[in-house]
Symmetry: C2
Subunit: 173 residues, 2 copies
């Protein structure tokens, strides 16, 4: 493994971004009495999100701002714009596995935030993201409704994604 | 961004791993005279791979060993095994975007390896991976053929993935 140990560098969150043409995420697993439930987005951005021990509300706020404004989405002219400018959809996937560090042949998750603080920050992230997107699309006076959807914190994230090139990026905060 | 700057920590490669039920990758885009070509795997592991400037053949060898032996694949009893033990398929996706670092609202790729060295290491990686998987499945004396497929280096990686939970992990070498 590389010499940059996250323990010494105070990484507070890790985020993976992928562009998509569509993506579908299970938000409630099948039970004996009900079918599984899913949410689905069209063209836009999938945000895989993991908070580590040192994460604060500031961390969450910063990630929202960065993820929505970073110039990573190809528009129809193949120019890179933000997902806000694209008016693309956003799918937020809680992904605690991203906090893992390799020890031998196993991943360990000692650096992940505790579940309750993680849930709090995740919910804040979803709320801020939705507000920012709806504020921005409100400015546009256009008919298409932009969707911000998200997974259920703590569940298995059963995901299907179709891309025109995911352009996978990893950011640490 | 976090305080760990990859410039000072000599990261040689960045890898993202996702479990899949199936994945399809374009290996040749559509032309005026021919349809686009795809490769497709079943249950197994998608390896997104990016070499940075300091990467060597040793780096490639180490990633192969790690990715194939790390205990990240859920088997039918929901026990974590390696993709080799699972006898899962492997899809290797060259993903230079993973080397990006954020500068303002744009990603920069100054730390990525040059294209020719990257191609050399990528081809070595694919070869070693294929050999390791076929050596391992040879030991098993079973009829199912395990697939190791890969994208075309330098192309846009048009990808579709279906998962039962991608369990996204990021490793640096």
């Amino acid at each position: 493994m590389a010499q940059s140990d996250t323990a010494t560098s105070i990484i507070k969150a890790r985020v993976v971004l992928q562009q998509c043409l569509s993506a579908r995420l299970q938000v409630q697993p099948q039970t004996e009495t009900s079918e599984a439930k899913y949410v689905e987005i069209g063209r836009g951005l999938v945000i895989y999100l993991c908070f580590l021990k040192e994460a604060t509300t500031e961390t969450a706020d910063k990630i929202v701002k960065t993820a929505l404004n970073i110039l990573l989405s190809s528009n129809d002219e193949e120019k890179l714009v933000s997902v806000l400018e694209l008016q693309g959809d956003v799918l937020i996937v809680p992904q605690a596995t991203l906090g893992g560090t390799l020890k031998g042949k196993r991943m360990q998750y000692h650096k992940n935030i505790d579940k309750e603080s993680g849930r709090y920050l995740y919910e804040r992230f979803v709320k801020l993201c939705s507000e920012a997107v709806s504020k921005h699309s409100g400015k546009r006076d256009e008919s298409r409704e932009v969707r911000v959807l998200h997974g259920t914190y703590g569940n298995r994230q059963v995901l299907k994604i179709d891309t025109n090139g995911p352009y996978t990026h990893m950011l640490e905060f």
